[in-house]
Structures are given as structure tokens and as C-alpha cells.
């Protein structure tokens, strides 16, 4: 659609009982608690404003929005005046016009008059207001003291701050406070000396606590804070609503473009996942789509030791299909498989699993959820009957106590973290269970009631101890349990957790959590009102990941915290479409909609639709694919949008598995680490170049809309279709909406979903069917999907990964705000300015024991391997624990992680690796060798395929 700015009603929406007033002779009815300004705006009456915007609370400083109210003295500000029944308001009069012109004269007397060359020309509220009030001259002249010589701050890679254009309306300060929750900005000084400051007088935006979310830029009414891209390119002319391709929050954006060039991504205020907010990644880090590293031409090679050869699509697809069939003829039908992408759309992952099931003839399909939230699927399906979280994000605003386990949302789910912070600042209590002192433990105006810094690997023991307190102290919600859960199973579970050896006192020596703190936390959760549990990969990426998820579900049921807003079990799913990938049948044992492949009735539906018999036996998970490859029986892999060599554990084993295969087909936008072992490269496209849907962590299905033509020529679903056709399948989709229609036919929870419906509603949360035609924000309201909620006895079983004299420390891993997972996207943007390398966080005591200082190179060794990276000395980690990220391929953090995994799902135990650290001279020899190997593997040349090798 043609570009227009987003509606701005001036002040936030209210929710009171309806009130009717008269504005400019018109009757207007709005919720009680609304400001007069908002009431006018909703009636289509625009009151001039500068310091007000509906994303933040009203401030009443600019005095531009004055109105006349019958019976009220003077000219009150409409932003701070609330509506009252029977009120009569006039928004325009000679008196008001004179006052407004006077205000504008003051502003303009100290403002550059370079509108025609200003980056906000045509998109500037100051300019608009000058026009709205009929400003014709500035009687003060321009010779007085002014701020026109102040220096610009260009430190941030994405936006500039020009104080000469600033009117000190403080919208940015309020946005940083109320929207983002970081409070990095302030107004320094007073009166004429007032100035926006990003922290101390020594700070610029880059060195300050600013997290570059862009809320201040979005709030700014002038070009004081403006995107560098707008300055460079100009004003957008088109807007397309689409969904972010980074994390599982699923922010919706207005992709604002000129032609096919993206100018900026503005958070969509009507986006129900993000409510008009964003983080640095979605807002600014989209430049990777046009990075020079993009591969846009298919390539093949006979051997991974040869350079790539660019070929036509026909040659590449014919070769790939030929290899798959050859391998199946030689080694068997089950010798091939594929991995779907949690970055690609629902329609695309559906097609990949369809290709494997209907085309390859087996169930050897898996997804990156294997290594993150597969325990969530197993655990919640077992206990509740649904492999997904129970709430929407809005639910947090009704929580009274939040139990946050193994998650660091300010880094991993920043936009949701901002909402959580908003709720915490309203008084909601927070309990953090994490070995690290994450930011939420203590932040401006936030302090966790309890931080339980458990020893990595002891989640189940801690959760059982919490349950022990709740059950033995009579704090369980018996009425809820009797009505909604299996009472016998509850009693068995209750007897188990009540055993003395499960108590906080008995488990303290094991978990490291002081018993008194744990008891207090349990009592708070059970008695503090609405209790909501949020968790992340610190729960799932353990040898007892599934048990921990079930222990969490047990707690929620025991305290009656299911089935309404403000409570629930909320897995913070990492990737933009990992929920969708699971929904679409990417697991080797499940068809779309989580029906087991052995379910004859479900399988028959798919067989009828697809016209082919399907293998009723479960297929291989990713780690088992690699095992089978090393064994010589798994020989080909089609990998769409995943980089298992960098992301999966025990890099040595992954590379051995890949090296043992005869045909690795990588379908991606860049040559990634996995492509070092590939024989066919099919270029993919980004979220900006395709149509489809993503499903976020709250089961919200949201549209992805194309804003530019795919640089590689095809959307990813088209590439998969072409590969299917090359294999002899008669697919004829012409648009992803047809794929969604097929999904809806075959998947009961998606039965009511269509592109038309999504265009109408904006987004929908599954299940969407006859029982829930408008979708399902909150699950299990009247009953669990499985019937009665199931209590599962989860005994603590220590991991096999033990510390000892050789490896006395425990390594755990995680993410940082500015980079995303393996960094394929974010490393190719300006975000590298914040995190140009992975660092190892070490406690000062452990560092001192080893003579390590901040910035020193450190050798990090485990039983699996070793790598080197630089130290960051911090007390955020406890003594005995070290922590790093995995965003940079040359660090290869997964060289040290092990093969240990969750008992039920094989989700790798990334969070518990026994390590030793010591001083190093620099990167290890293998890292240097890897860099060379990687360079060699990425050569693109005219080298002929070695016929002999074929």
C-alpha cells in the first residue's frame, strides 16, 4: 500500500466504561479514562500536538494541544485532560490559534530552517504543526541564543542524533522508559540548557546503555533522531506489513520501501505480538538480505574438496534428484533425509516434510527444534495434550508472580522482555532460576524477589524441591486438581515430592540453592496470585530437558495456574518459525498437527491427499542421521535454512557425519559452515523476498509478505517444489496460499486458517477450527486438551557429564541481544559493532586462580574438544561456572559440547559441559586450520567436476 504514517492517537488507549462527550459539536463516545486528545483523534479530529504520542503516557509539556472546555478555566492541555460525561470541548478558536502560533514561534526560533534538505522533509511533525497552526512569521527573529551549533552524534550504526533538530519534547526519553524499559535516555540540564542525553555527559548513544531498539527514533517528531537509511535514501513510498525473521516473539513490521529498496522497518502498532515495539535486530539488522555474500546462483561439485561450479537451476536440481535416487537405489530408501528450516515459512517447511515423506518415501525429517524446544513438545504433550505454550504474550500483564527459569529474555526475546519489565514495574514479583545473574535480576526499577542461582544440571531437583514445599505446606490448589487433573496421578506425584530427600534442605548441597530462599520462592509462587512460568533453553537443553518441562507443568497444575490470562506455561521459543516448523510435521515421528506417523487414521488422510503410501515407521532424528552416516548407511541430506555444523553439539561428530555422506544439498542464502561439506548448493531467499506465514511462540500465525523480488529468482517453496518435480512428483502450487489451504485440510488445529482470513484478522492463534473460529489466545480454559491434566513423577537423574580434577568447571551457553544464533544474518549487518566475537564469561575467583585477566585469550577444553576465545571477567556467573555465546563460526563453541542429550528427545545438553580453562596465546591451531578449510570450501570457480570421483 502507498506510504502513510501510522495513525497516532496522541495518548494511550484506555479501557474504562464508555463516556460520551461533545467535541466541536459532535457526540463522541470513548472508553472512560481516555484523554480528550485521544477522543478527538478517534473521531477524526486532529488536535495539534508535539510532545504527545500514543506509545507513551502523556506529558503536557509542549502546550500545543490546548483546547477550550465549557466550565473549565483557561485552556487545558487536551493530552492531560481526561474525558468526562457531558463534557463540551472546542478544539479550534481564535484564542487557541493565537496560543498555538506563539508556541510554534518559540520552537521555530531555535530550529534550523533547512526543511528542503532535511531527512524528515515531508515526514516531520514539527513541519506539520507549523502548517496546522498557520505559522507565517517568527517575530523573535533568529539572532538570539540558540542550539544550532551542537554536534551530531553519529556513533550508532543505524541512526543519528542531531540535537540541532531536537525540540526536547522528551518523547524519546519516555519511549526508552515506558516502551523499551531500559531508561538509557534522560533530559540533562533544565530550561534553555535542556538537552537529550544518552546517559552521562561522557556517553554517546553507542557507549551508553542504549540497546538500539529504535523506540526513540520512532517516537521522535522531527529528524533529531532519524535512521541513517532515510538520510541516505529518502522517504519511503510504499508500506507492506510483514513479520520479523529473527526470534520467536514474531514482531510485525511495516516494511517501508522505495521501489524494492527497504528504507526502514517500523514496528506495526497493530501487531499483537509486539504492540508497536521492536529490538535492534528486527528494526535495523535486515541489511544481510543484500549482503555481498549472498549466493544467488545454484552450484554443484563432485567432491567437497573441489571449488563450486555455478550451474543453471535445471542442472542443479536434476543433479540433486539424480543423486538422491541413485543413493536410494544403492543404499536403500531410508538412506536419505532432510532437515526443515525454523527460519522458513510454514508453507515451506510443510513442503520439505511432504517432499521427504511423499518423495523420498521415509520419515527421515527433523528440524532445529531438535536442539532447542523438542522437550517442550514432548513434555507439554504428555502433561497437557498440546505441544505448545498455553498463553499469549498479553497474558503477562495479568501475572502477579513470574517464575522465569533458564531464560534470559532481555537478550533472547527482547520485545517480550520489555512487556515483562512493564508488568514487573507495576509490582508483579519475579523469581529467577538461572545459574547466571541475568539482567532481570536487577535492572532499573526492577529487582527479582528471589534469584535461585542453581548449579547447571539440577533443574529437576530444584523444581521438585519447590513442589515439595507447595505440597507439604498445604499450598496446592486441591479444588483445581480434583476438577481438572487425574487425582490418582496427583497423589502419586504428591507422595513422591513430599519425600524428605526432595526437600530444599536435602537438595541444597546438590543444587547450590539456599533452602530458605527456595522455600520463600515456592511460597511466593503458590500464594502470590496469578503465577506464570516462562522458560527457555536453560530448561530444555539438558539430559533431563523433557523431565524439567513436565516438572514445570506439574507445578502449574498443582497451583491451579492454568486456563486463564496471567498464568500458564510459556516456552520462549527461539526462532521466528520453530513453533511453525514443529506444527508442520518436521519431527520424524509426527505428521503435521502432532499426529504420530503410526496413527492409521491420520496417515490415511495424508495418503489420500498426496496419492502415495507413507512409511508408518518413525524416521531418524538429526543426531541419529549423523550416527547412521558415520555407520555408512545414511548418505544424502537436504538441509533447508539450517547450519548444523555450527549449531549442533560435538562439531567433530557432525563433521564426520557430513563427510561420510555422498550428497549433501544445502538450500540457504549464504555459504554456511554446513556447506563446507555440501555437494549441491541451492540459493535461498530471505523473509523480505517471499510470501507465507510464520508461527511465533504464542502459536500466533502471522503473514510474511514479499517486499522485494528474490535475488535468487525463486521463493524457497518454489525451489522445494522444483526439486520435488525433478524427483517425479507432480506438484503444481502457484502460490503459498494453496499450500496453507492444504495444511488447513489436513491439520485440525489449522482448519480455519487461510491467507484471506489472516489478511482480515492480521494474525490468528491456533487452534483455529469450528470450536475456536477466531483462534485460541489461552489454552486449556475449561479442560486440558488431553482430558485430565497428567502429573508425571520426575525424579532427578544426574547428568553423565561430570566435573572432576581435569575438568572442574561447568560451561553453559546462551545468546546476546545483538547477534542471533549462529550469526549468519546478524554478522552480516552493522550489529557486529556490539559483539564482534564470542567471549567467555569467567568469575573473578576462577580467573584469579588461573592468572587470567579481562581480554586474555583462554583455552577452553572439554572431553570433546577445545577452542580458544577471549575472557570477560564478571560476577554474573557463579564460581565454577563459565558462559559463552555461539554466534561466531571461528569460535566454534560446539567443538567443546558433548553428545549427551535429553533422554526423551535427544535435545543436546548444551547447558552442561565439564571444562577446564587456561591461558592461551591466541586462537588454537585447529581454529586457524578451520578458517583455511572454510575458505577453501567456499571457493567458487570454473573447476570441472572430477568425472573419476563420480
Amino acid at each position: 500500500m502507498a506510504y502513510t504514517p501510522q495513525d497516532d492517537f496522541g495518548t494511550p488507549a484506555a479501557t474504562g466504561e464508555p463516556v460520551t462527550l461533545t467535541i466541536d459539536g459532535r457526540a463522541v463516545t470513548v472508553p472512560g479514562g481516555s484523554a480528550v486528545m485521544r477522543a478527538a483523534a478517534e473521531a477524526g479530529i486532529s488536535v495539534p500536538k508535539l510532545c504527545a504520542t500514543d506509545m507513551v503516557k502523556q506529558f503536557g509539556s509542549c502546550r500545543l494541544c490546548l483546547v477550550e472546555v465549557d466550565g473549565m478555566r483557561g485552556t487545558p492541555a487536551s493530552c492531560t485532560t481526561l474525558v468526562a460525561p457531558g463534557m463540551t470541548v472546542k478544539t479550534q478558536s481564535d484564542r487557541l490559534q493565537k496560543l498555538r502560533r506563539g508556541v510554534m514561534e518559540l520552537y521555530i526560533s531555535d530550529h534550523p530552517l533547512d526543511c528542503l534538505t532535511c531527512s524528515a522533509n515531508g515526514d516531520c511533525e514539527l513541519q506539520d504543526m507549523a502548517g496546522a497552526v498557520g505559522l507565517r512569521d517568527v517575530r523573535y527573529g533568529y539572532e538570539g541564543k540558540n542550539h544550532l551549533e551542537q554536534a551530531k552524534d553519529t556513533s550508532n550504526p543505524y541512526f543519528d542524533f542531531d540535537p540541532t533538530k531536537c525540540i526536547v519534547c522528551s518523547r524519546c526519553v519516555r519511549a526508552c522508559d515506558e516502551v523499551q524499559g531500559t531508561l538509557a535516555l534522560t533530559v540533562e540540564g533544565s530550561g534553555f540548557k535542556s538537552k537529550i542525553s544518552a546517559g552521562t555527559p561522557m556517553d554517546d548513544f553507542l557507549s551508553s546503555e542504549c540497546v538500539s531498539c529504535g523506540a526513540c527514533v520512532q517516537a521522535c517528531p522531527t529528524s533529531a533522531l532519524n535512521e541513517k537509511a532515510v538520510t541516505a535514501i529518502g522517504k519511503p513510498d510504499t508500506v507492506t506489513i510483514t513479520t520479523c525473521a529473527y526470534c520467536g516473539v514474531g514482531c510485525t513490521f511495516r516494511a517501508e520501501t522505495r521501489g524494492e529498496q527497504v528504507v526502514r522497518m517500523i514496528p506495526w502498532k497493530d501487531g499483537k505480538a509486539n504492540r508497536g515495539h521492536s529490538c535492534v535486530k528486527g528494526r535495523f539488522a535486515w541489511g544481510y538480505a543484500r549482503h555481498q555474500d549472498r549466493i544467488t546462483q545454484p552450484m554443484i561439485r563432485a567432491s567437497i574438496h573441489e571449488p563450486w561450479r555455478e550451474v543453471s537451476w535445471t542442472e542443479a536440481l536434476t543433479h540433486a534428484a539424480g543423486e538422491i535416487r541413485r543413493i536410494q537405489t544403492q543404499y536403500g530408501t531410508r538412506a536419505v533425509g532432510g532437515i526443515t528450516s525454523s527460519r522458513c515459512t510454514n508453507e515451506e517447511t510443510f513442503l520439505v516434510q511432504k517432499l521427504i515423506r511423499a518423495g523420498f518415501g521415509n520419515n527421515n525429517v527433523d528440524t532445529c527444534a531438535r536442539v532447542c524446544h523438542s522437550p517442550t513438545g514432548y513434555g507439554l504433550k504428555t502433561t497437557f495434550g498440546t505441544s505448545a505454550g498455553t498463553q499469549d504474550f498479553d497474558s503477562v500483564m495479568d501475572a502477579d508472580v513470574i517464575l522465569l527459569i533458564g531464560a534470559n529474555p532481555t537478550d533472547g526475546h527482547p520485545v517480550f522482555a520489555s512487556r515483562m519489565k512493564k508488568r514487573l514495574r507495576q509490582g508483579t514479583k519475579l523469581i529467577v532460576v538461572d545459574p547466571r545473574r541475568i539482567d532481570l535480576v536487577r535492572s532499573p526499577h526492577i529487582e527479582a524477589a528471589h534469584h535461585l542461582p542453581l548449579r547447571p544440571g539440577t533443574n529437576v531437583a530444584v523444581l521438585t524441591a519447590l513442589a515439595h514445599v507447595i505440597v507439604t505446606e498445604g499450598l496446592a490448589d486441591e479444588a483445581f486438581i480434583r476438577e481438572r487433573c487425574d487425582w490418582d496421578e496427583y497423589q502419586d506425584w504428591g507422595a513422591f515430592v513430599s519425600q524428605p530427600e526432595r526437600s530444599p534442605e536435602a537438595t541444597e548441597i546438590l543444587t547450590g540453592v539456599p533452602a530458605a530462599d527456595l522455600r520463600a520462592a515456592a511460597r511466593l509462587f503458590a500464594t502470590g496470585g496469578n503465577g506464570a512460568i516462562y522458560y527457555g533453553l536453560g530448561v530444555t537443553e539438558h539430559s533431563q530437558g523433557s523431565s524439567t518441562v513436565m516438572a514445570i507443568a506439574n507445578l502449574a497444575m498443582a497451583t491451579g495456574n492454568i486456563g486463564r490470562p496471567g498464568v500458564g506455561v510459556n516456552p520462549l521459543r527461539g526462532q521466528n518459525n520453530v513453533q511453525g516448523a514443529c506444527d508442520m510435521g518436521s519431527f520424524p515421528h509426527e505428521l503435521p498437527g502432532y499426529r504420530h506417523i503410526s496413527d492409521d487414521e491420520a496417515r490415511a488422510q495424508f495418503e489420500a491427499e498426496w496419492g502415495v503410501a507413507l512409511d508408518p515407521e518413525p524416521g531418524l532424528r538429526i543426531p541419529n542421521m549423523l550416527d547412521a552416516a558415520v555407520d555408512g548407511v545414511f548418505k544424502a541430506l537436504y538441509v533447508q535454512g539450517e547450519d548444523i555444523l555450527q549449531s549442533d553439539p560435538n562439531t567433530k561428530h557432525v563433521s564426520a557425519g557430513l563427510a561420510a555422506m555422498e550428497c549433501v544439498i544445502v538450500h540457504d542464502i549464504f555459504l554456511n559452515e554446513t556447506a563446507n561439506y555440501a555437494h549441491v548448493f541451492l540459493p535461498g531467499c530471505t523473509f523480505l523476498e517471499k510470501n507465507g506465514t510464520f508461527t511465533n511462540a504464542e502459536r500466533r500465525i502471522q503473514p510474511v509478505r514479499r517486499v522485494m523480488s528474490p535475488l535468487n529468482g525463486y521463493e524457497d517453496w518454489e525451489v522445494t517444489q522444483e526439486l520435488a518435480r525433478a524427483l517425479g512428483l507432480a506438484w503444481d502450487y502457484t502460490h503459498p496460499s494453496q499450500i496453507m489451504d492444504e495444511i488447513a485440510r489436513l491439520t485440525p488445529s489449522f482448519a480455519g486458517v487461510s491467507f484471506a482470513r489472516l489478511d482480515q484478522e492480521g494474525s490468528m492463534q491456533w487452534p483455529v477450527n469450528d470450536d475456536a473460529p477466531d483462534g485460541t489466545p489461552t489454552m486449556h480454559i475449561d479442560g486440558f486438551v488431553r482430558g485430565k491434566g497428567k502429573f508425571v513423577v520426575t525424579d532427578y537423574v544426574p547428568t553423565d557429564e561430570k566435573t572432576g580434577p581435569r575438568f572442574p568447571l561447568l560451561l553453559t551457553t546462551g545468546r546476546i541481544l545483538s547477534q542471533y544464533n549462529v550469526g549468519a544474518q546478524t554478522r552480516r549487518t552493522e550489529n557486529v559493532v556490539w559483539h564482534e566475537e564470542d567471549r567467555l564469561e569467567i568469575h573473578p575467583v576462577d580467573a584469579e586462580d588461573r592468572g587470567l585477566r579481562n581480554g586474555d585469550w583462554v583455552r577452553l577444553a572439554s572431553r570433546a574438544g577445545e577452542t580458544s576465545l577471549r575472557a570477560l571477567i564478571t560476577d554474573r556467573v557463579a564460581p565454577g561456572v563459565v558462559y559463552t555465546t555461539f554466534h561466531h563460526p571461528l569460535t566454534q563453541a560446539n567443538v567443546v559440547t558433548t553428545d549427551y542429550s535429553d533422554w526423551a528427545t535427544n535435545c543436546p545438553e548444551y547447558k552442561v559441559t565439564a571444562v577446564q580453562i587456561s591461558r592461551s596465546n591466541g586462537p588454537s591451531d585447529w581454529q586457524a586450520e578451520y578458517g583455511t578449510l572454510s575458505e577453501r570450501a567456499r571457493r567458487i570457480g570454473d573447476g570441472a567436476i572430477d568425472e573419476a570421483a563420480e
Binding site: R334, R595, A628, P767, N769, V785, T794, V797
Partner: protein, 84 residues
């Protein structure tokens, strides 16, 4: 770790975690888990190993896999049927 060692380790790991979960039904639960989640080759290898004595397998997984090997279990109760 070679293939059979890996599968034995996986089976033992499953057994250790479900031992208290299912009580007397643990062997049947283990058998059902392997049936539902392991691919045919993995099942074939572990069943062969069981039939050759099952070295390295702890009692619970050994019992569960013997059930699987003996095909004594009826078709496993249908997996939880969600309306998805």
C-alpha cells in the same frame, strides 16, 4: 562411541529417567517409547543385541526391550490424540 554402545547408552538413559515415572509399567513405557521414536534400523540393532544377551543394558531397559523384541506387546495404545 560405536553404534551399539550409543544405543545401549540411550536405552539406559531412558530407563533411568522413567524408572520412577511409571513404576511397574516402566518396562512397557520404555518399549513404547522406543517403538514410537526409534527408526527401524535402530530398533533392529538393539533388538538383535537384546537377543544376544543385551550386554551393558540395565535391568529396566533390558526388560522393556525384551518386550519389544518378543513382540509380546499388543499394538501400543494409540498415542495421545490431540485435536490438532
Amino acid at each position: 562411541m560405536n553404534t551399539i554402545d550409543r544405543l545401549v547408552h540411550m536405552a539406559n538413559h531412558i530407563g533411568a529417567n522413567i524408572a520412577t515415572m511409571a513404576g511397574d509399567a516402566a518396562p512397557a513405557m520404555l518399549a513404547e517409547h522406543v517403538e514410537q521414536f526409534w527408526d527401524p534400523r535402530m530398533k533392529s540393532i538393539i533388538i538383535s543385541h537384546v537377543r544376544e544377551g543385551g550386554a551393558g543394558l540395565n535391568p529396566l531397559p533390558l526388560a522393556g526391550l525384551r518386550r519389544l523384541a518378543g513382540d509380546e506387546i499388543a499394538a501400543a495404545p494409540p498415542p495421545c490424540r490431540e485435536n490438532h
